[in-house]
Amino acid sequence: MVTLVIKRIGFMIFTMIIVSLILFLLLETELTGDPAARVLGQFSNEEQRELWREQHGYNQPVMVRYVKWLGNFATGDLGESIRFKGPVADVMLPRLWNTAILGFWTFAIMIPLSLTLGVLSGMREGSMLDRSISVFGILTTSVPEFASAVFFSALFVFGLKWLPGTSSMSGGFEFRQLILPVMVLVVYDFGYVARMTRASMAEVMTSQYIRTAVLKGLPYKSVIVKHALRNALIAPFTVIMLQINWLLSGVIVVEFFFAYKGFGALILEASLNNDIALLEACAMVAVFVAVATQTLADIGYTFLNPRIRFS
């Protein structure tokens, strides 16, 4: 167990270093075009670009720059955002908080919903209910987030006039504005988790100990609740943790669509405005969140599953 944790955390650090190297090579070196031209715009002249390079230390060797950059990053100096004219950390933190709120509500609704549907359909594999749930899941995961955002807006904003069409929270936090973004994310994501839960549940249902319990004459309900669920819910735990990675992608689309001031919209804004320092910081945070949840998922899975823990 301890060696596994150390191994996983070691790999996490290794991944972050490689990712930082990839980001640095892509965004800060001449590999993909002149960074000075990218920051100053295509209409800047060579003199301005040279001056900028001199000021920002771009004339030093690549390796020296990378080590310095990584050092700054590790000590919390994320640089200045060109677009928002301020330290990157000050721009990023409130946005991260907003996205955390959005993510919290999405998970709070998606997890119970998808686990229930998955267990219901995995309980009796091949039944009418099972087929209906699985086709419904395919239907919802086939609609891209921007399309379901359009459909829901057409229905709830323009048609029924129940909900606001944007979520900019300009007049302070309002829960009503959060409903549509959360709905879009839940609808796109729950199908996959439900499907994985179904597979896990279906596998458990065919196992020997469930058959024993049924043949012993236990009521069906207690077989499901006391015996099957415990083992069937181990695999979905990993799947749900890994959904955080997917959520980060979905969040970009949804926040852009509903003008929600979150982290996803910030990444997009940074890239469309060539705000390199901000883009690097956002990407590092996004990858860190993704890798950290993967690590937690791995460790958690081992911890929850005694068959692995003790072997």
Partner: protein, 298 residues
């Protein structure tokens, strides 16, 4: 010398039989109504894309009459069945021509990702050792990126164009394909026919491509169907975020991006492209589900 003659002849007979089997397994689709609906949706859009010049009633890029509602008759003759957008382009014609865009770029990107992913997966699974370690670690690292963040960074640095979208999709999805292929190869590499080919003295690449790969096709076909749907979502999302194909050529995601500010007053501008893209993706996903159901049966 004689061995080369026989082996060059073998694959052609093999491909004929494989093609026949593939057709037969598509015939089996009629046993799964889900798969049938999927196949119908995909075929519908393929036909629309092929017959685009016949179906589209207007030029997709010319500005005719802005803000026309669906069903309105054009001043110079013809009907805007689905209305026009803010600069007066006929939406039906743009959706019809847009189906070409998506049905050209999505398969190209998928094929490109599969080529890279299969080669990497074969190498990792067959050679094992350090090759496997390096490729697997690399795949882990690329897969640890939230996908859309990766796309945004790649497109932001190399620019938005058709080729660059294919490059970005290849880069982001080949590691996933590699993992699947690697797993299949690890299972297949110990089979007798592989050992037989090795004893015959076939080269590694020949064993991988002729002996192992064709036997791994089942799960790969299902995965390719799902992935095609996912690539269409990606192209749509990139278009929607303004990182897709450059205007003015019609692209479904881009159409939604350009007109979403007017959705309040003119919902038809955004609704119809969204229905188009959702139905095509649904087609591929249902088809994949039907194919998997059939492959599990026998």
């Amino acid at each position: 010398m004689s061995t080369t003659a026989t082996t060059t002849q073998m694959p052609s007979a093999g491909y004929g039989a494989a093609l026949w089997r593939a057709l037969k397994s598509f015939g089996l689709l009629r046993e799964s109504w889900v798969g049938m609906v999927g196949a119908f949706l995909v075929l519908f859009w393929v036909m629309v894309a092929i017959l685009a010049p016949l179906i589209a009633t207007f030029d997709p890029n010319s500005s005719i009459q802005p803000f026309a509602k669906p069903g309105m008759v054009a001043a110079k003759g013809g009907t805007f069945w689905l209305g026009t957008d803010h600069i007066g382009r006929d939406i039906l014609s743009r959706i019809v021509w847009g189906s070409r865009t998506v049905l050209i770029y999505a398969p190209l990107a998928t094929i490109s990702a599969y080529t890279v992913g299969i080669l990497m997966g074969l190498l990792a699974g067959y050679r094992r050792g350090w090759v496997d370690d390096v490729l697997s670690r690399l795949a882990d690292i690329i897969l640890s990126f939230p996908v859309l963040v990766l796309y945004i960074i790649i497109i932001a640095t190399i620019g938005a164009s058709g080729i660059n979208i294919i490059i970005a999709i290849t880069f982001a999805s080949s590691p996933g394909i590699m993992r699947i292929v690697r797993g299949l190869v690890l299972d297949l590499r110990n089979r007798d026919y592989v050992a037989a080919a090795q004893t015959r003295g076939e080269s590694d690449w020949k064993v991988m491509l002729v002996e192992i790969l064709p036997n791994a096709r089942g799960p790969l076909i299902v995965d390719a169907c799902l992935r095609l749907g996912y690539v269409i979502i990606t192209i749509g999302v990139l278009g929607f975020l303004g990182l897709g194909l450059p205007p003015p050529d019609p692209d479904w995601g881009g159409m939604v991006n350009e007109t979403r500010q007017m959705a309040m007053a003119f919902p038809h501008m955004t609704l119809f492209p969204c229905i188009a893209i959702s139905s095509l993706i649904l087609g591929f996903n249902l088809l994949a589900d039907g194919l998997r159901e059939i492959s599990l049966r026998d």
